[in-house]
Each structure stands twice: as C-alpha cells, then as structure tokens.
C-alpha cells in the first residue's frame, strides 16, 4: 500500500459486519508529503485522504482495489495532523451485482468534525 504506515497508521479496527468497518487512523505528522503540501503550512492533501479510504477498503475486503469512478467526494473541512491527529475512517462496501466491483460509501471524521464524505465504485485488481 502506498500510504499506510507512511501518511497514516491504523490504531484500531472495528469490524461491524463483513461489509462495514471503522478504522481509527493516526495521521502521521512526520510524513514527507508535508514538506511540499505546503512548505511551512502542513495540510493533509485531499487526495491522500481519498487514498487512505481506498487502502482501508482494501483492508476491509482483503483484496487490491482500483478506483473506477468517484460519484462524489466532498471535502468538507481542512485536515492536518495537528488539527485532527486521529480520525475515524468509516467504510461500507456493497458488491455490484454480476461484477467484480464494489460500491463504497466512506467518511473521515473525528468527534467534532467531518472532513470527507465519498461515494465511489472500486474494482478488484486482476
């Protein structure tokens, strides 16, 4: 995985059902991405949060997944390791009937703030 244990680490994993889990993740302040995003102003890149969701979905399903489409992804607040050192990444998956694809609904939030909501279709990597 591209960003696991580099941009984030999973502190705790709560499986609600086989299709539904919450990953408590720590955003790592020492990740090299903050050298450039932005110099002197560390902000977690929205696309890294999207990648974090993908990697959590891979852990939930236990297969490598590609992002086929993102129907909608709203970035509702600025995130960074100092603003939100720990976040809940909530992922719900549903198999798209007759295909190898999964529809996923995911969110990144802490107790006070929602940072991201995403609806996407992921496909199993061959």
């Amino acid at each position: 995985m591209l960003l696991k244990d580099k941009f984030f680490t999973v502190l705790h994993e709560e499986r609600i059902t086989a299709n539904d889990a919450v990953f408590l993740c720590e955003l790592k302040a020492d990740c090299d991405v903050y050298r450039g995003h932005f110099p002197d102003k560390p902000v977690s890149p929205g696309v890294c949060n999207i990648e974090m969701i993908r990697e959590c979905a891979e852990m939930l399903i236990g297969q490598d997944l590609l992002i086929d489409t993102i129907k909608q992804c709203r970035l509702t607040a600025v995130a960074s390791p100092s603003i939100c050192p720990k976040v809940d990444v909530k992922v719900t998956v549903a198999r798209v009937e007759g295909t190898e694809n999964y529809n996923i609904v995911a969110s990144i939030a802490d107790a006070l703030t929602s940072y991201m909501e995403m609806k996407a279709t992921l496909k199993v990597k061959e």
Partner: protein, 139 residues
C-alpha cells in the same frame, strides 16, 4: 509552452515531493492545457509501476491551481491557495505508467464565493486516462 518545471513554482504553492504538474502548454480564456511527465520518483507510483488514481486527481487539481495562478499573475493579483472542495464524476480509464506524458485540458466554469467549478480531462497521446468535475475552494 508557457511555463515548465520550476517556472510553475511562481504559480502554485505545492513543492516536492508532491508536485504533480510540470508544464502549462497554453492558456486562453477559461481553458488551459497542462502536462506531466510521470517520473519514476512520482509520489503516487505503486509497486506495479503505475500511478494510483488519486495522483491523477491531484494532477488535475494542481493543473487548475497553476492555471488560476497564471490568471492571477496576469491580472496583478496575489497568488491564490486553492484546496479541492469536491470531486464529482471522476472516472479513471487507465493508470499511467512511468515515463508516460500526460496532457490535460482544464476548463474553468462558474465561480461563487471563492468556489470555482471546473472540469479536467487527462490523456496520454490519444488515450483517455481520466476525466472529472471538481470544485476548487480558494481561501
């Protein structure tokens, strides 16, 4: 070619290791063409040598950011710092490989209270790589 490599740093705040656009080919009105050569050290290259899809989203977002920076520079305005507010109808058709040349068309649309609607379409040669709608939020 309007800008390439470090010249783009005049237009956008992102720096290594997450610079995902390396040229603006042309810009006219609300449309610009940008490019990226996918280097082996690109931040989003996966173990199989292909770029992860979020890298394409970042490429399109930074292309728009640099284009807006170019417009600000032309107008003598301060450089805007833009964040992605929303990604909508993103579709990845193929993940680019190392050494491939990406070319992207950015079209800016309506703007309300610092939120700009835009579309981006990325190709490698004639092959469609990804397309998306996006909202860029400027602080």
């Amino acid at each position: 070619m309007l800008y390439q490599n470090e010249e783009l740093f005049r237009l956008m705040p992102q720096r290594a290791p997450i610079v995902m656009v390396d040229k603006i080919l042309d810009a006219e009105g609300d449309t610009a063409h940008t490019g990226l050569t996918v280097g082996p050290d690109n931040y989003f290259i996966e173990e199989d040598g292909r770029m992860a899809e979020p890298g394409l989203i970042e490429h399109i977002a930074q292309s728009a950011s640099a284009f807006k920076g170019h417009k600000a520079l032309q107008a003598g305005e301060p450089l805007p710092i833009g964040y992605i507010g929303e990604v909508k109808k993103f579709h990845c058709y193929v993940r680019p490989a190392i050494d491939q040349e990406l070319t992207t068309t950015i079209t800016l649309g309506a703007e309300v209270n610092g939120v700009t609607l835009m579309t981006g379409e990325t190709r490698c040669g004639e092959t469609l790589v990804a397309d998306t709608q996006m909202k860029i939020f400027v602080e």
